[in-house]
Symmetry: C2
Subunit: 218 residues, 2 copies
């Protein structure tokens, strides 16, 4: 499904009337999904909330599944762009501690946004009934970010700054160390739990400290 989703009627330019409607429908649908869940959401309600006709909704999105998939894709593409750009700056780093911590903190801050957490919670709650929806998040979001990080770690290792046997494993350990408490607290304690930038920076710095103690070239 992930690949097919790319085939939906994505507008070419962001400033066309069609693109504005596309975005309005996605925003409206996001709100409805958050409040009603996947099963409780109807295309009628999405149309009403976006102030467009149901026909217009179907012109942009073939069905509810495609609509939800595009919401997921919009989120994972956003973090992929952001994360890839920051990861690139690490290739030429002259301060590994600082730049790794910045990368970890940036990802944590993105993930801890209330909208992202709500989407994540919605995806998890529907994962058994609609595994193809959550798989998009897993493959295009979770795994893609890990792959970008693994590439970056490989590059830094080639510069002689790190010793990494298995970049994929190292990438997942990096993320797990930084995010284990924030993600679990956010998932289990509801949206009222907020993290400050300073808290997330501390988790990032602590994770990087352990990561470099294990992987830094002597």
């Amino acid at each position: 499904m992930a690949n097919e989703s790319r085939g939906s009627t994505l507008p070419l330019a962001d400033n066309t009337r069609s693109a504005r409607k596309h975005k309005a429908i996605l925003d409206a649908a996001t709100e409805v999904f958050y409040h009603k869940g996947y099963t409780g959401t109807s295309m009628d309600e999405v149309a009403a909330r976006a102030a467009v006709s149901k026909q217009t909704v179907y012109k942009h999105f073939a069905d509810k599944e495609r609509l939800f998939a595009d919401i997921v894709l919009r989120a994972v593409d956003e973090i992929d762009d952001l994360f890839s750009e920051t990861a690139l700056t690490l290739h030429a780093t002259d301060d590994l501690d600082r730049d790794l911590a910045a990368l970890g903190q940036q990802f944590a801050v993105w993930l801890m946004q209330p909208d992202v957490l709500r989407l994540r919670r919605l995806i998890i709650s529907e994962a058994n009934r609609f595994p193809e929806l959550s798989r998009t998040w897993f493959e295009r979001g979770f795994q893609r970010v890990l792959a970008t990080l693994a590439d970056t770690l490989t590059h830094v290792a080639e510069r002689g700054l790190l010793r990494i046997d298995d970049p994929e494993v190292a990438a997942s350990q990096f993320m797990g160390m930084i995010l284990w408490i924030p993600v679990n607290r956010a998932m289990f304690c509801g949206d009222s739990e907020r993290f400050t930038q300073a808290e997330l920076a501390r988790y990032a710095e602590a994770g990087v400290s352990t990561f470099l103690a294990a992987h830094r070239c002597p």
Copy 2:
């Protein structure tokens, strides 16, 4: 709520008729919650499935919230007992790599059980509407396991085998490294995703290897 839940009518002995009914109701309710979600579950349906009267259900559990809380407590108490016992064997370890990996693997195997994953997913999906239910899981499960691990790491550090500045942080990093991929894959890819013991052992060993590279006393 977590503390009050201890006050529910827990039977003293497991072999009394009342205890058997208590367990039958919990088992039946677990099934209904999994299929209908928290909101969709009624005490009537629980009674029917447990083949007891609704009055009997209410004799054991004051309301639906208490019933769900007791299901959560049954799960977290189970892992707490198991984990504490294994953690104790670490105090006298003569093979830190082996015993830490065994502890990590044991926890991963417990968490990756289909019933535990389903409960975890249910709790996450209801965390915004019923934060007090998910808080029980977080405080009595997640945080308690981390506290046990932090105590254990402190003890091993006092024997001169580890160098640990902050045992709580070290415990969360230990868990995060081992569980980041398994937990995310399980949450996002639905219950059809299964991990073999060998896979979980590899995540545990890789996590312990990085953990000890950072924390082992020279």
